[in-house]
């Protein structure tokens, strides 16, 4: 019995862990357009190129129009359960973009900014510089997935041995 309960609790925690990124996406900025490029302009790098949520990232770009404002955007997906009339029809992920910050190039067309990797789905996300619907340049950042378990709050443990 305790084994069944332990497995059930683990299952619930696992589901909560899966849902957590979607729930915390609200910490991102306002929605931004899913801009498309008309030929890329300039160069852009993110450093580091991967890391877990909370990682501070430095963005640098050059070769852009001088003294110009851009949206710095984090691209991801919005996930939802597809439930209709009490029937589960799987999951649905829709591409989405959120503003991280507005940034401005200097007189030489360069810019530098920092941001903190938000809680979000694992693996690749695009960090883009855009103006409205036009994407100028982008760079990929890979979110490393991580799990933290607090032993004091873990009701399983020895119960599995019983």
């Amino acid at each position: 019995m305790t084994r069944v309960l332990g497995a059930a609790v683990r299952g619930v925690l696992f589901v909560i862990a899966l849902l957590a990124p979607a729930a915390s996406a609200a910490q991102l900025g306002p929605d931004a357009p899913l801009a498309t490029p008309h030929g890329f302009v300039g160069r852009m790098t993110v450093s580091p190129e991967r890391g877990p949520p909370g990682t501070p990232v430095r963005v640098t770009a050059e070769g852009l129009p001088a003294d110009t404002d851009f949206q710095l955007v984090w691209r991801t997906v919005k996930g939802r359960w597809k439930v209709a009339q009490a029937e589960y029809h799987g999951r649905e992920y829709t591409p989405a973009a959120f503003e991280i910050a507005t940034v401005r190039t200097d007189a030489a067309g360069r810019l530098a900014a920092t941001f903190t990797v938000p809680e979000d789905f694992g693996f690749l996300h695009d960090v883009a510089l855009q103006q409205g619907e036009r994407l100028f340049i982008q760079a990929g950042f890979s979110v490393d997935m991580s799990v933290t378990i607090f032993a004091a709050e873990w009701p399983g443990g020895d119960a599995d041995k019983g």
Binding site: H38, R43, E49, R50, Y93, F123, V127, I137, G140
Partner: protein, 160 residues
């Protein structure tokens, strides 16, 4: 009043019938495509993948069929083009694969070497086939990030 009614009817006909006539002339095309690593890359060629480093070659393999399932070659189609999200257009050609004396299959293909300064991240693309009568049909990969063309950090340095 009668003149106005006649002009109005003529306008309706012009707006409604032209697209109908166009649709009747166009023959439907069906496209299937995939993306593989080109020769000389970081691993074996012609292996399905969506992740590439800069300076690696991306190759697309494409089949185009008509409504009867007949494969359409370069005698039946005007062009097959891969369009990248940044607007680049890469023309495909119909030939035997693997290249050489004993091809085991024939299909449209093309390749593109990722420039050293290309941005990283994921990129959409589409394949556009144009029939000899001008009918076009486009195909896009599943809009799921891992399925899109992905340029990962790092630059591929071929073995010397």
């Amino acid at each position: 009043m009668a003149i106005a009614r006649t002009v109005f009817l003529a306008l309706l006909l012009a707006l409604g019938v032209a697209p109908l006539a166009e649709a009747q002339n166009g023959k439907p095309l069906f496209i299937a495509a995939d993306m593989v690593r080109d020769r000389g890359g970081s691993g074996p060629a012609c292996v399905l993948t969506s992740r590439f480093m800069r300076k690696e070659g991306v190759a697309w393999r494409i089949r185009v069929q008509d409504a009867t399932g007949t494969e359409l070659d370069d005698k039946s189609l005007k062009s097959v083009v891969v369009e990248l999200s940044d607007g680049q257009k890469i023309e495909a050609h119909f030939k035997g694969h693997p290249p050489g004396d004993a091809p085991t299959d024939h299909f449209w293909s093309t390749s593109w070497k990722i420039p050293e300064d290309y941005p990283t991240g994921s990129f959409n693309y589409k394949v556009v086939a144009t029939a000899s009568d001008g009918t076009t049909q486009s195909w896009q990969p599943f809009n799921v990030k891992p399925s899109l063309l992905t340029v990962v950090a790092g630059t591929f340095e071929p073995a010397k």
